[in-house]
């Protein structure tokens, strides 16, 4: 039976379960140590939650193909953006279900366009940032379930981050957020509507300069077809702090943002069918982005963009757009 993914602001029980399960995964030892991932310094235990941080950084460093000037990698700046993140979220959701011992739990989503429709100065006071939800901003964050406390070793801590070269590093500090500093306002409903009206999923040159649905939701181009920080990217940049980095899954809000992006993709498919491009006739330069190429994940050949098109047996959304 498919689980239902619900809006976090309207489902307090799901919200509480999300917080609880994130905290459990953050405390669960994965059985791996930092040195097994080439992270310099003393070998330290890596939590299951932090494996997802390492996965995201690793996927971003796998350039497709190596050295391409478009900066296309195995998860971003190309067609595989939506399916790669779908795989990541599905594996994350499985782990949340496991630690909750609740096979019916569905990852919640943050409908950020709702907050983006608010006047700019009210956006950082939206319900999602309440002490009973994700907590507020700061360096470190001091409110909510992920607040930092120097003296409390069980408080939420960032343990793996990236340096300026994009390489993994061990750290030990609180979560960071700085709302509206690197971008003024969240995306609005009108921007989402305009993105959904684009019928090609993606188009040549399959990069950050193409006017396609994938490129619009990933957030490299605005409604005028001009390079800008938009939708998914704008949410990252508006939240700031951890969300600016390749290690952005450090902020639990990362998954709520991506769940909403995945909901937009699902909404797009109700209009256009479960279709994807490029197919396997595309150039080898697009390896890793074509419909039957394996997605960079522990699922190997079992997870391809084609396999990700219809996951309705696994989960569905309470509401599509």
């Amino acid at each position: 039976m498919a689980v239902v993914r619900k809006k976090i602001s309207q489902n307090a029980d799901v919200r509480d379960q999300y917080i609880q399960s994130v905290q459990l995964l953050k405390k669960e030892a994965s059985g791996r140590k930092t040195n097994e991932f080439g992270i310099p310094g003393a070998a330290r235990s890596v939590s299951t939650y932090d494996l997802f941080v390492i996965w995201h950084v690793t996927a971003m460093m796998l350039e497709t193909p190596p050295g391409n000037p478009a900066g296309r990698n195995s998860a971003h700046r190309g067609p595989v953006f939506a399916p790669w993140h779908r795989v990541m979220l599905m594996l994350f959701e499985q782990n949340l279900q496991r630690v909750l011992n609740d096979a019916n739990f569905g990852l919640p989503y943050w409908d950020w366009a709702e907050d983006g429709d608010l006047p700019q100065q009210q956006q950082s006071a939206a319900a999602i940032w309440g002490a009973d939800c994700m907590g507020g901003q700061g360096n470190p964050v001091t409110t909510g379930p992920f607040a930092f406390s120097q003296s409390d070793p069980s408080a939420f801590r960032v343990r793996i981050s990236t340096n300026i070269s994009g390489e993994l590093r061990s750290v030990n500090r609180g979560l960071r957020r700085a709302f509206g500093v690197s971008a003024d306002a969240l995306p609005r409903t009108a921007h989402v509507t305009n993105a959904l009206a684009l019928s090609p999923y993606d188009s040549p040159d399959w990069d950050a300069d193409t006017n396609s649905f994938r490129n619009r939701i990933e957030g490299w181009m605005n409604d005028d077809g001009v390079s800008a920080t938009w939708l998914h990217n704008l949410v990252h940049v508006w939240v700031g702090g951890e969300m600016l980095l390749g290690s952005s899954p450090n902020d639990p809000v990362f998954f709520l943002n991506h769940c909403n992006i995945d909901r937009l993709w699902e909404s797009w498919m109700t209009r256009n069918g479960r279709v994807y491009v490029p197919d396997m006739t595309a150039d080898a330069d697009l390896k890793g982005h074509r419909i039957d190429d394996p997605i960079s994940s522990p699922l190997g050949r079992n997870a391809t963009p084609r396999e990700m098109l219809d996951v309705s047996a696994i989960y569905e959304y309470d509401a599509l757009l």
């Binding site: 791996r32 796998l62 360096n139 300026i164 994009g166 390489e167 990217n233 997870a303």
Partner: protein
Amino acid sequence: METKKLETGAAPQKLGEYLSRTREKAPMHAGHGAGGAQSVRKDDYRGHEIEIVTTYKILVDGKKIRAPLGVDAAGKVHCHSLPNYQTASAVDMVRALIDGFPEEFEPKPARRKSRPASRRKSRSAAKKGSKHEH
């Protein structure tokens, strides 16, 4: 995709194995190695082969920074240590790097030795200042 395969693949042990294997065999960002970031753009025009090699050498406060900047066919600058940005100029990207990696631009703690008392004070003041500027 079958639920069974998903469950198996989601085990932390599987993800851990996959990650250590992937990080071992993948040459992590080739070309960004010894402090340089290089982009090679190629094009064909009227039977001519164009190749543009761009290398960034970036200094902040006189110190070389190792950020993997690249430039795409449209001339936009990207940097995978700040993966959600794309800027019209490398200067804008370096500004964003200073905001995104505050620690990397703090003065070296080694200088503390010479003036321990006053050093501490000025450091925390500088920190507060940069927080406000954000």
